[in-house]
Amino acid sequence: MPWSLLSYGLTKQPKLRRHFSKRADLGNSYDVVIIGGGGHGLAAAYYLAKEWGITNVAVLEKGYLAGGNTARNTTIVRSNYLTEEGVKFYDESVALFRELSYELDYNLLYSERGHLTLAHTDAAMRTARWRAEVNKHLGVDSEVVFPDELGKLCPQLNLGSDVRYPILGALYHPPGALARHDAVAWGYARRATEYGVEIHTETEVTGVSVENGRVTGVHTSRGDIRCGKVLQAVAGMSSVVAKMAGIRLPIKTIPLQACVTEPVKPFLDPIVVSGSLHAYVSQSSRGELVMGASADPFPLYSTRSTLEFKEELAMHLLQLFPFVAKLRVLRQWAGMTDMTPDFSPVMGSTPIENYYIDAGWGTWGFKATPVCGKRMAEAVATGEIPDLIKPFELERFYRFEQVGERGAASVGH
């Protein structure tokens, strides 16, 4: 007999447990200020507290907690990238993700589904082979599969030749997974606040104080604060905030749209991506098809949705899964992605002393939430940039040492 459920039903005022403590007044100073209360900022706050004992930290979020791109992505986690630097980096993130529900004592609904990057052209097959070999060389489970194996991995896929671009094969990455994006943010936030980190939502940073080339404080909509170090993690708003500190970035803010269908019984196990067709789909634990297509064709600071996106997505998705034509689109939204020229992030230090940056996450940021939080916390705490993220420093563009991951990014191209 479910007694607790019965007693809950009979009480007039159910006992609710707060996830985080109520927002405090903004203090005068903090050791570290994190601008941006999304997954990355909250993860950095958690690791700063847990691994480095730095708890005099304030996370400042302009809107509601993790309401930016953390709330808007299509929840895919994978490490089947193209470059050695990229693969090593994202694979550390996958390793962290696998244990994260236990570490945070928070159910992230982490679901290993297998990730398929379909190839419809010889060039795409060549890229699939390249990625598979680089992955295998670095101990990451990826392989090239052909239509016969694809038919077993994803029986619902249209492998016929009656389409414009028939499927020639795919890059199969078994560790590819889905995770509940909000839970990742809330899990990190709850544990961070347990350590004493302060989270200030609806607190907008309006300016950054720099003296003698070093950051000394930030101006916010709720008052000014002095701080020792600043970490900026604001995704689509990266250029706007960096400009406050006098820093220029190689970033264009471009909307990326997504949508979900009505829920249906589970039928799609793997995550299916088609780079050539610019469409990708997975079935969530609620039974909804979560889908995306290519990014918007011009920079815009907006999360508005368009008809063109739905038309393009439908046109391509129905080549892969013709039978979903009858499904209704339930909801559509967008995020503002901070796109870089080489499809790799901008992480590490900046020309301003004690001002650290975590930006350029474009369409590939959610999967990097744990490794980014962990390694940026390390950078802020020690003042040294870890080897794992050194290839992503802002300076690389001035040395023409881009980390080209366009071939491994699912969208944005």
Partner: protein
């Protein structure tokens, strides 16, 4: 988007070519200045002046739009900005 040549056409017929920028002098600029020109972006939230192309007719023109409100304020032919031919001397590299 109002194309100066073809009139008002659906936005999906156009390609954005990026910000209107002055290119540094290839012969005299430093590598750093060149990298800055190639990679760094203003990424302005607000009014921008950009190159745009009408895909069907391959016609390039200038558009001034607001990246916050998504309003296209002005479009005009390139001749309004560039009235003389610019010669990029190759010389010795």
């Amino acid at each position: 988007m109002a194309c100066p040549l073809n009139g008002v056409r659906n936005i999906s017929e156009f390609v954005c070519g990026g910000e209107v920028l002055d290119m540094p002098d290839l012969q005299t600029c430093s590598e750093r200045e060149w990298a800055d020109y190639l990679f760094m972006e203003a990424n302005t939230k607000g009014m921008v002046r950009e190159w745009w192309m009408h895909a069907a007719s391959s016609y390039w023109f200038i558009a001034e739009r607001n990246t916050e409100t998504n309003e296209i304020v002005k479009t005009y032919p390139v001749a309004a900005l560039y009235s003389e031919r610019i010669d990029y001397r190759t010389g010795e590299l």
